[in-house]
């Protein structure tokens, strides 16, 4: 659905996007992560036909956003990181205005607007003035605006910024619903847990370059494995602890770091071996009350990937 080929954007001496190659399949919710100034918004604006790249091409559903902007616009719904709402306009009128701009006829408009207000949980605010809506509601209204012409791709730049937890949860549910509708979503956010909960794949940008791109599972694999954390009801006696540590070391290939009633083993994830380890601990009589892999948060993954990228680029 999205294809960026050697995409470059320079602002004077600043390289905002640096030979970015990207591929996102249809139906994915793809996260765009990176520190401020990494080039996320620029890349998104190029895909939304609002910015011309210095070199390279960006394609949406096989259509070039650079060379065929009109055709590309029909396939893209764009929601910027600012509200962009008019005052003295009711919610339905706001949508009706943009529906008219995209060339929708009056009959189709009403049905579409009702459906989108319903999807974004704004049906109750149909007659409310846009400038009197809360931030979260405005964001959802902007999302509805971006979906008016039923685009295949939705580009959402920081859609949850400044929202309270309830509004963020609502936005998350809406995004999942949109994904169920078969749309592809490209979403950037600084609130990384938000992305980890909704995204199926992700690209990490650093200084305009791609530091990582792949599925969430691939991102986790990039890390040093998820450590196995064993929690005990009480600290076992020294002899039992020694024997357990030795058997775990033989089985998993790594010795546990023991801190009283919490043991941590840095090892690659393997369900079969993990099951064997648990069985062995039970047989030895170790008082286990917790046995799980501790997966890295997206923040950890992000720091890991960008950190590794920084180190690599300094070499």
């Amino acid at each position: 659905m999205i294809e960026c080929i050697e995409l470059v954007k320079r602002y004077g001496k600043t390289q905002a996007v640096d030979h970015l190659n990207l591929h996102v399949d249809a139906g994915e919710i793809h996260g765009f992560v990176g520190p401020n100034g990494a080039g996320k918004t620029t890349a998104m604006r190029i895909l939304a036909t609002l910015c011309a790249p210095t070199a390279g091409d960006a394609r949406v559903d096989g259509v070039s956003a650079v060379h065929q902007p009109q055709q590309a616009r029909a396939r893209v719904g764009y929601m910027p990181d600012f509200f962009g709402v008019y005052d003295n306009l009711k919610a339905w009128e706001y949508l009706d205005f943009y529906a008219g701009c995209v060339g929708m006829d009056a009959k189709a408009r009403r049905k579409r607007i009702d459906a989108l207000l319903d999807l974004t949980a704004l049906s109750g605010k149909r007659e409310a003035y846009v400038d009197q809506l809360s931030r979260g509601m405005k964001q959802r209204l902007c999302l509805a605006r971006a979906m008016l012409h039923d685009p295949k791709l939705l580009i959402l730049d920081e859609p949850a910024s400044g929202m309270d937890p309830v509004a963020r949860a609502q936005m998350r549910d809406i995004l999942r619903e949109i994904a169920r509708m078969g749309k592809t979503v490209l979403i950037s956010s600084h609130i990384l847990p938000e992305l980890s909960e909704v995204c199926t794949s992700m690209t990490v940008l650093q200084r305009g370059k791609k530091a990582f791109s792949g599925t969430m599972t691939e991102l986790e694999k990039r890390l040093h494995g998820a450590p196995l954390v064993i929690r005990l009801t009480q600290t076992p006696d020294e002899e039992l602890a020694r024997r357990a540590a030795q058997r775990l070391s033989e089985l998993l290939g790594s010795a546990p770091a023991m801190e009283e009633d919490v043991w941590r083993i840095e090892t690659q994830e393997d369900v079969q071996r993990d099951a064997q380890a648990l069985r062995m601990l039970m047989e030895l009589g170790v008082p286990v009350c917790g046995f799980a892999r501790e997966h890295a948060t997206l923040e950890q993954a992000f720091m890991e990937v960008t950190g590794a990228y920084e180190a690599q680029s300094h070499l």
Binding site: L50, R73, L89, C101
Partner: protein
């Protein structure tokens, strides 16, 4: 008929603000003050023939005030329209809808014109009073209202052209007023001091009157017809005749006035009306081209 969504939405928003009724009321009040002042003087001391002239002067004042208000209000309205979209950061959202620059300019222009037309029409009752007292026919009143609307359209397109170029509303407003001053004042200055001015003196009036209307009109400097005041003076002189006498007495306000008189005020008013309409059309085309150019520049800028 498919209504331009930009026109529809902007008109709806404008009519909802408190400013709109305030502007309309203030505008009507200003015109009615002058109209009633004239009427009180007219009826205050019994109706005499000499007071007919007083009433006609009232009509001239109301019309001139309409022109003045239009020239002040119109550029301010249109100058903020496109620049305002940029400042509000809603212009990008319009761009991604694929709505063309021509539709944006025409939508905004139509909406601004609808409001100005409403202002002008709201001044019509004040002007109608002179139909009773000054012998101004209804056809003449309609002609004056049409002329004012064309001038308003011209002033709006000046603001629109500037708005398409500017990124900030305040810059657009200042530029629009400068452009209006240049259009009106520049044409007047050219008429008074330009290379053609010396040709039109009262001494040359008789010689001019021997020439045909078309010949005189073709000899006049073209920018003169683009000056809104020239057209309005001609129209009022044609309708009332008073202006003609006042001009003869005070003289030299317009050296070109001699040529206007010789060519016939009606003809000058018509040419001036056509020039204003042409200028409005050209400025609209310029605004569309300027917006397209700015669009391309914005695309490169990102």
């Amino acid at each position: 008929m498919k209504l331009n969504p930009i026109f529809e939405s902007s008109a709806r928003r404008r009519m909802r603000t408190w400013r709109t009724p305030v502007i309309l009321t203030a505008y009507m009040a200003a015109l009615l003050c002058i109209a009633f002042n004239t009427l009180f003087a007219f009826f205050g001391d019994g109706v005499r023939i000499a007071q007919m002239r007083l009433s006609t002067e009232g009509y001239i004042w109301v019309t001139a005030l309409q022109l003045g208000l239009i020239v002040v209000v119109a550029p301010a309205l249109s100058a903020v329209s496109i620049a305002g979209e940029r400042e509000r950061q809603t212009f990008d959202l319009l761009r991604v809808t694929g709505v063309g620059t021509r539709r944006i300019v025409l939508g905004k222009l139509m909406e601004n014109f609808a409001f100005i037309a409403l202002l002008i029409l709201s001044g019509a009752p004040a002007m109608m009073l002179f139909h009773i007292t000054a012998g101004i026919s209804l056809a003449e009143l309609v002609a004056t209202l049409v002329y004012l609307m064309v001038i308003a359209l011209e002033a709006l397109t000046v603001g629109m052209a500037v708005s398409a170029l500017c990124r900030r509303t305040i810059t657009a407003m200042v530029m629009a007023y400068l452009a209006i001053c240049l259009l009106g004042g520049g044409a007047w200055a050219l008429a008074k001091h330009g290379p053609f001015a010396a040709r039109y003196t009262y001494e040359s009036l008789q010689a001019l009157e021997r020439m045909g209307t078309a010949q005189i009109l073709m000899g006049m400097p073209v920018p003169v017809f683009f000056c809104p005041a020239v057209g309005l003076v001609s129209l009022l002189a044609q309708q009332t005749g008073i202006l003609h006498r006042t001009m003869q007495q005070t003289m030299r306000l317009f050296d070109i006035y001699v040529a206007m008189k010789a060519a016939g005020f009606g003809a000058v008013a018509l040419v001036s009306l056509a020039a204003s309409a042409l200028s409005a059309a050209l400025l609209t085309a310029f605004a569309v081209a300027a917006l397209r150019m700015q669009d391309r520049a914005a695309l490169k800028r990102g």
